[in-house]
């Protein structure tokens, strides 16, 4: 039987749908399988990111931030108002509408590019066959020259706090609280925990974040992590490090949580809602038929090489289901790479320059190496920093918290890392990503003209500070 498709992508999240669109653009006959549907049985495209991840969380972060501004900052600007209230159902409805617009948009893009949507669950069989089980239970075998697995990830459950989707929720449930919980517990001080804790904290919850590790934001530059911790504390987020949750008990409408701190003391704490945000795991349930030939690694990720090829020729895997940071832009770029490889191009992906962003306010973002990593490598380096408190644009915007930090190689001056906590951190770091893609030195950025007044100038001043030439702060003595 002839191939029905050149490419069948399993999963329509950021990795899968982007891969399918790119493959179709390259003239490949492409299908994309998605099994996720709403309660009316309508297929939901866009995956975790669009439906229960990046997009809805950003919608709530933006709405809740405006509430805080109105409450706390308007008076400072000389704006008087008669009290501000929040309408949580309306806030959630706005979020839902944005999600609907974007997920419907993916369907439109599929149509525009000629991607065939196959609704149901996909399973990888041997010899490049994919079994499609539809909503009505019927099964169809699809022949394809190439398969791309993009099945994503799921929240990790922990035995001491089993999710009941009522009082104890995962990230999905935390986007759906119908009212503001008075006392909110969050297990995990990672990106998801900090973002969701911020949303509800801004709306009035007393938030306690329990983090098992002793180090805050272990993957981030620790100077930035320390600065961020200070800012969060000022905002009222009670982040407890070295707090290992040992149990939870639901009593009536309350969750009683016990945890052991780094000194071994057991503490009990009561919440109205508890969010479990300890991490995500790759999702491969019912995906691989015995004899598919596709292998998993010891952590449950699909085993792939640098080009996202699995152990079976013609079968690829991208996104959260494979190694690397679980980020939408990482998955999407892998999807593009794989589509281009299938089309015969020599595509590559630069894993060294995947930026990270935490969308709290202020934002935290970074790319490249942290000072700790550079130090551990033993290479000599230079550091330049600039505080937003010295930025005219930031002061005008009442955004004086945070800083920019640039790390460069001492000998070659090549930029090794850009780290920001502060307003528009992600956009400033992106400027660093572009510079680093072109192997820029800190002097290259120093010699570049930045508009005044802009937040971007904080990056300019930080690269100037690398060699002790910052204009708007006193430089540390160097030579």
């Amino acid at each position: 039987m002839a191939n029905q498709f050149d490419v069948v992508v399993i999963g329509a999240g950021p990795a899968g749908y982007v891969c399918a669109i790119r493959a179709a653009q390259l003239g490949l006959k492409t299908a994309c399988i998605e099994k996720w549907s709403d309660d009316k049985g309508k297929t939901l495209l866009g995956g975790t990111c669009l439906n229960v991840g990046c997009i809805p969380s950003k919608a709530l972060l933006d709405s809740s931030h405006k509430f805080v501004e109105a409450q706390k900052d308007f008076a400072l600007h000389g704006i008087k108002h008669e009290g501000v209230e929040i309408d949580v159902p309306k806030m959630l409805a706005r979020k839902d509408k944005i999600v609907k617009t974007l997920t419907t948009g993916v369907g439109g893009l599929f149509k525009a590019n000629g991607v065939t949507l196959l609704e149901g669950a996909g399973k990888v069989l041997a010899a490049k066959q994919v079994e499609l089980t539809k909503g009505d239970g019927s099964v169809e075998i699809i022949e394809t020259a190439n398969v791309v697995i993009a099945t994503g990830s799921r929240p990790i459950d922990i035995p001491p706090a089993p999710v009941d989707n009522d009082l104890i929720v995962d990230s999905t449930g935390a986007l759906e609280f119908s009212e503001v919980p008075k006392r909110l517990g969050v297990i995990g001080a990672g990106v998801i925990g900090l973002e969701l804790g911020s949303v509800w904290g801004r709306l009035g919850s007393e938030v306690v974040v329990l983090e098992a590790l002793d180090q805050f934001l272990a993957a981030a530059d620790q100077q930035i992590a320390k600065e961020s911790m200070k800012i969060y504390k000022k905002q009222g987020l009670d982040i407890r490090l070295g707090a290992r949750v040992t149990g939870s008990e639901i009593r009536g409408k309350e969750v009683h949580v016990t945890y052991v701190d780094s000194e071994g003391n057991e503490t009990s704490i009561v919440f109205d809602k508890l969010i479990v945000a300890v991490g995500r795991r790759p999702y491969t349930e019912a995906l691989l038929a015995p004899g598919s030939g596709v292998n998993l690694d010891e952590r449950g990720f699909i085993f792939v090489d640098d080009h996202c090829a699995t152990d079976v020729p013609g079968v690829y895997a991208v996104g959260d289901v494979v190694r690397g940071p679980m980020l939408a832009h990482k998955g999407s770029e892998e999807g593009v790479m794989v589509a281009e490889i299938i089309a015969g191009q020599k595509a590559q992906m630069n894993y060294d320059l995947i930026p990270s962003v935490i969308y709290t306010h202020p934002e935290i973002a970074w790319v490249g190496k942290t000072e700790e990593e550079v130090k551990a490598e033993g290479s000599e380096y230079k550091v330049g920093t600039f505080p937003f408190a010295a930025s005219g644009r930031a002061l005008a915007a009442n955004e004086k918290d945070g800083m920019v930090k640039v790390i460069a190689d001492k000998v070659t001056d090549r930029i090794l890392g850009v780290h920001v906590v502060g307003p528009s951190a992600a956009e400033l770091v992106q400027q660093g990503v572009i510079a680093m893609e072109f192997a820029a030195s800190s002097e290259d950025l120093a010699l570049t003209i930045f508009s005044h007044p802009t937040l971007s100038e904080a990056l300019h001043e930080a690269v100037l500070a690398v060699d002790g030439h910052a204009i708007h702060i006193a430089n540390r003595k160097r030579r």
């Binding site: 070659t412 001056d413 090549r414 893609e437 072109f438 192997a439 820029a440 030195s441 002097e443 290259d444 120093a446 010699l447 570049t448």
Partner: protein, 48 residues
């Protein structure tokens, strides 16, 4: 054809009196980076 130099590479090449066409660029699309000018300086010492 005149190679493309990064801003810092352009400055350093000018300071050292190098002819940009003599410098091998290793950046994207053959761009000459500051590091390339440094390497060139090590390989071909020029009296300034």
């Amino acid at each position: 054809q005149e190679p493309v130099l990064s801003p810092a590479a352009r400055k350093m090449a000018d300071e050292k009196g190098f002819n940009p066409t003599d410098i091998a660029g290793t950046g994207r699309g053959g761009r000459v980076t500051k590091e390339d000018v440094m390497r060139h300086a090590e390989q071909s010492p020029v009296a300034s």
